[in-house]
Amino acid sequence: MTTTENRPAQVFENNDLKPVGHGRMLRKEDPRFVRGKGHYIDDIQLPGMLHMAILRSPVAHARIVSIDTTAAEAHPKVKAVVTGAALAEQGLAWMPTLSNDVQAVLATDKVRFQGQEVAFVVAEDRYAARDALELINVEYDILDPVVDARHALHPSAPVIRDDLEGKSDNHCFDWETGDEAATEAVFAAADVVVSQDMVYPRVHPAPMETCGAVADYERIDGKLTLWSTTQAPHAHRTLYAIVAGLPEHKIRVISPDLGGGFGNKVPIYPGYVCAIVASIVTGKPVKWVEDRSENLVSTGFARDYIMRGEIAATKEGKILAIRTNVLADHGAFNGTAAPVKYPAGFFGVFTGSYDLEAAYAKMTAVYTNKAPGGVAYACSFRITEAVYLVERIVDCLAYELKMDPVALRIKNFIQPEQFPYATKTGWVYDSGNYEPTMRLAMKIAGYDELRREQAEKRERGEVMGIGVSFFTEAVGAGPRKDMDILGLGMADGCELRIHPTGKAVVRLSVQSQGQGHETTFAQIVAEEIGIPPADIEVVHGDTDNTPFGLGTYGSRSTPVSGAAAALVARKVRDKARIIASGMLEVSVADLEWQKGSFHVKGDPTKSVTIQDIAMRAHGAGDLPEGIEGGLEAQICYNPENLTYPFGAYICVVDIDPGTAKVTVRRFVAVDDCGTRINPMIIEGQVHGGLTDGVGMALMEMIAFDEDGNCLSSSLMDYLIPTALEVPDWETGFTVTPSPHHPIGAKGVGESATVGSPPAIVNAIVDALKPFGIRHADMPLTPSRVWDAMQGRPTPSF
């Protein structure tokens, strides 16, 4: 099936043709949001609540000589001042990261990045807490920082992580994938080899709501309730139990409405732990909410990969092999939230959408005096970097071969009959049919016409570029045997309960940050059980009221929890069928399901609705032998494989030859995320990701000076696209269902963030072709584009 929902200029037929579960349904969560009745972390007010503020390091690398808190403690509104030394006495000064490293909760020995947590104050109000921070006197012995990852392993580089026993350098980890020798053999024999250095700069998800927590520790029963901005409430609860030694059943983590996440709200931050300690120390509920600078300088960043891409091909343009060498900057602590066996996330899919003979990647990760993190900003566990690498290097090959970049891609696509396709780096792509998706994007864009326009404009000295990318993503982590986070298997639970009157509640282990779970999951269940979505309440984000699961990131909600929701509904339906057989006095085999009711085969008049069955299940009447009362079920879904959504993107840019300002004139995105549940929500996810792509390609970068000062610590310096920098998106879709997902769905939340940066950069580089440019590094600000137009390569940082 190939249809589009391109708008508004072109409207194709078959718009939203038979998506699953009520299709383009308006969102159930919106009525509260438009009334200002969302309930975010900072909206929580508890009686007697105190406020916490964190003192952060002003420097990137220094030994702490002394901390004097006397004046702060004397402040009339201050209730507690806590330093790393005090936490160390309780064994709480360090905590494990999600990558088996450790991270300081509060610095004890050294500070290792600007913005690192040094002490916290608890006071009666948020202003007083901030005032008291000013009264803490810290003496630092400044050390040389390591800012440039390329110098981190130099023998003269200062050792950042001297807290780790025997550590004598800044090496974090090495990782490789693919067959080095086989790849070398292909490269040695190839007609054409193209090599390109490229930098994916450090960027930040910067959700509009910063991170925060409200901790409420009840001394009498020892119960901790923690409201926190987390995309993974269950994983957090278990880790708090392990770190703090609190019994897990006495911890309740509630993730309220989240004002965006994008991976920024996956890690456990020192602030959350401090808020818990603050509540335990004071015996009162304690609120902590970051300011914007704290969010930008200290929380989970993204990317920061320095990559060399190499591609080998025949002179006719058959791609044979891809090889890459990556230097990964992980900051001061390895705070990456990735499955344990995948320290580079899913970067192994850098082979892209192409049928190769060989592939090899080698990565060295280093510590630097920068904030920890690494996997965030809708990156699908580093697939953003992988797709950028392959889609840039393929364009470099097209440049050298003087081939059209679309023709080169189509020539090398994995063919539909090759699926499931095992890549040379060990990934099994579940399904794909790439060429129709590429051709649809060309049709919507009017690709040939655009090329003609470009040729004419070049004649007139105008600077216009057309960029293409084709991506394949791998989303929906586990299965649990392959993927875990600190030993917690990546699977997700789901519980469905049908009330006596036929209304339902479905409880999820994942947590929305704006993706519309309350709507989408009601639609999935509605499709399977035949109850209207309006009659299905979705409960999530509360560990006391939902089954265990690993949470929402890496586009895993629909592939994992969406499957769980469909299967739990089928389990309930199986029980309903047995009850129906009793009600209709026929055997189970004689019943037929038609969305919402069972009827006797051959006699549709003899039927019972799911609502009738629900009442019967809870009623006083007899139930079939061996059947318990009630109509509910719970499952834990362990995915068989990842799902592999894909898409074709085409970007058109105009560059002002006088100012080098880039305008994204058009952007066409054709996505294939398998079975579509709510096309409106999918389109929204794609739009958001495309905007991220414009941000990363043109303006976003977390930059540092040579002393390790973060130069992008506010939204004045860290630029995010506004409505004036983005075009009206043109979207389309194809549908290639996942063969192993119960309803054929794949994830889509990050597709556009993954796929759009190379399309935009490819468009800009294409525009600059007359200037002899084959590559330019992001962010392509006017000054960088100007430099490129003058023949000056862009600086790597």
């Binding site: 929902e5 939203d16 009520h22 308006l26 009334r35 996440g261 993706q515 939204l715």
Partner: protein, 172 residues
């Protein structure tokens, strides 16, 4: 110090610190948490409210400066249980995802439509260009405001949008 102002039509008087920001006054002192805070530097406009009919960034106004003035927040957009067309438009056209920037966006949109009932797409983009949304990519926000403009032009405010409307193929 004591400050008095009109908030959503109600006279309020509170004892405050002189340095208290209007956004914190509204949120922490009056419990009007629909107005959000998103940055320290007056760049994101998540906190937009109206002062005497004009959109202002409530993170950049001291509560004391609002004394004697009329403040209007997102909580006042719905009148007599009928949503403002702007609110309806945001629901109809998927103008929000996480909902965090939404109150500020809607207050700006309402002000735009009050002075320019039939804005062009560029006018709309310009009007919201000081406001950051990380989720939507803005196109659906533009459509939401266009929806509101069209429906106001057609018939004034329509009936309240039910809490969960099921539509089929309503590509706006």
């Amino acid at each position: 110090m004591q400050v008095s102002m009109t908030v959503n039509g109600d006279e309020v008087t509170r004892e405050i610190e002189g340095r208290l920001l209007l956004v914190h006054f509204l949120r922490d002192h009056l419990g009007l948490t629909g107005t959000h805070w998103g940055c320290d530097t007056s760049n994101c406009r998540t906190c937009v409210v109206w002062m005497d009919g004009e959109p202002v960034k409530s993170c950049t106004v001291l509560a004391a400066m609002a004394g004697g003035h009329e403040i209007r927040t997102v909580e006042d957009l719905e009148q007599d249980s009928v949503l403002d067309p702007v609110q309806q438009g945001f629901i109809q056209c998927h103008g929000l995802q996480c909902g965090f920037c939404t109150p500020g966006m809607m207050m700006t949109a309402r002000a735009l439509l009050d002075r320019s009932p039939d804005p062009s797409e560029h006018e709309i983009r310009e009007a919201i260009s000081g406001q950051i949304c990380r989720c939507t990519g803005y196109a659906t926000i533009v459509r939401s405001i266009q929806w509101a403009a069209a429906h106001e032009a057609a018939a004034g405010a329509e009936a309240e949008v039910p809490d969960a409307v099921v539509t089929a193929g309503s590509a706006s």
